[in-house]
Subunit: 223 residues, 2 copies
């Protein structure tokens, strides 16, 4: 039984990588930059996206794809608070998005005029890290209430994320969260990770992240 | 590809259910009550266990099995702050525990004299809910910073949990968390779920949960 599970998983991951490369190539031809956003449930993904998009939408045409097992609250929030187009993907119980699921969703979503596409993955620090979605970059969020030790317990998520955003920073005293120790733990998993510290509800630190993303999207346009 | 994945998953779940029933039968013969503890990363599982165990350890012989992808901070915390035996299970990257993994861990852990065994699952609101571990009961934690809408997005976790514990209750004003709405959302997924509200660090609400667990363990002894 164990061997069969491992073999099937390897096949799935290999197939997924091919689909991801195909999707990246399609997006490149259209000049679209896609960011895969991952985090635990309730880490503040949608709240950060709302704040980011309101800073970026004057310069770029933006779309959002929201993945959840059930519900549509996140896609509605994006439309209501930013005005940019958003669709909700339901994963039929799956704990992560695959490249194929992402591609299927894109086929139902008019992306042709977009510069920047955010993909909000299922809230989960484990499984989404295993599957390349076809995005250009992975951005993960770690919220202060979760604790500064999370990189010790969920290594792959931090290894595959180019950007790590520490969210809900205004609560660091309440939760005895050590930002320096957290940065060390993140860099132990990925020495090149670019770390940002934000409190999206109070508009703290989001400008720096928006500026970094602006550079990435512009580089992609001119690549 | 899709059919093959579904078929393998059904096989795995069916095999897992058999293993879980076998393990429950073994535990029953030994008079041991096992509680599977599930939650998002950083929801406060270990903190709640420390508080609970210090209230229950005079009456019962207790053991703890801590599952994580990597690290051993939780097992060390349990031993340091409660004095009860604890082992760390590493899941080799897996996002959940199976009944077989639980059984293998029990074989390495001397449980013969225990009355109560806590199994702390991998921090994840999705996958652990799919796999029966062989425990007598599922206890899930939802921390206030995650938000009161989580039952809408992660239905299965709430459906399979007999006990739902709202943790970090002292921060409900900070995070605009509506306890009544959260209770309604939980009961929408599972009308029989027993809900507790705690702040383990301030020793609020944990006595009620300890009392409920005491009744369950005693009933198990006399069943």
């Amino acid at each position: 039984m164990d061997y069969r599970i491992i073999q099937v998983k390897e096949d799935i991951l290999e197939e997924n990588s091919k689909r991801a490369e195909e999707l990246r190539s399609i997006l490149k031809n259209k000049g679209i930059y896609m960011i895969n956003v991952m985090a635990s449930p309730g880490a503040g993904k949608t709240t950060l996206l709302v704040s980011l998009i309101n800073k970026l939408k004057k310069e770029f045409k933006i779309g959002v794809m929201e993945a959840d097992i059930d519900g549509d609250v996140d896609a509605l929030r994006i439309v209501q608070f930013t005005g940019v187009p958003s669709i909700q993907i339901h994963t039929s119980g799956a704990c992560h998005l695959t490249a194929q699921m992402t591609h299927d969703a894109i086929n139902e979503f008019n992306i042709d005029n977009l510069d920047l596409l955010f993909l909000e993955n299922v809230g989960n620090l484990v499984c989404p890290a295993e599957f390349d979605t076809g995005s250009n970059i992975n951005m993960m969020l770690l919220s202060v209430p979760e604790g500064d030790d999370k990189p010790l317990k969920y290594p792959l998520m931090f290894e595959v994320s180019n950007i790590a955003v520490i969210t809900k920073l205004d609560t660091k005293e309440i939760f005895d969260f050590d930002v320096d120790r957290c940065q060390q733990n993140i860099h132990m998993r990925n020495k090149d990770a670019k770390i940002f510290e934000v409190c999206a509800l109070k508009d703290q630190g989001v400008d720096e992240l928006a500026s970094y993303i602006t550079t990435l999207v512009k580089e992609n346009k001119h690549a």
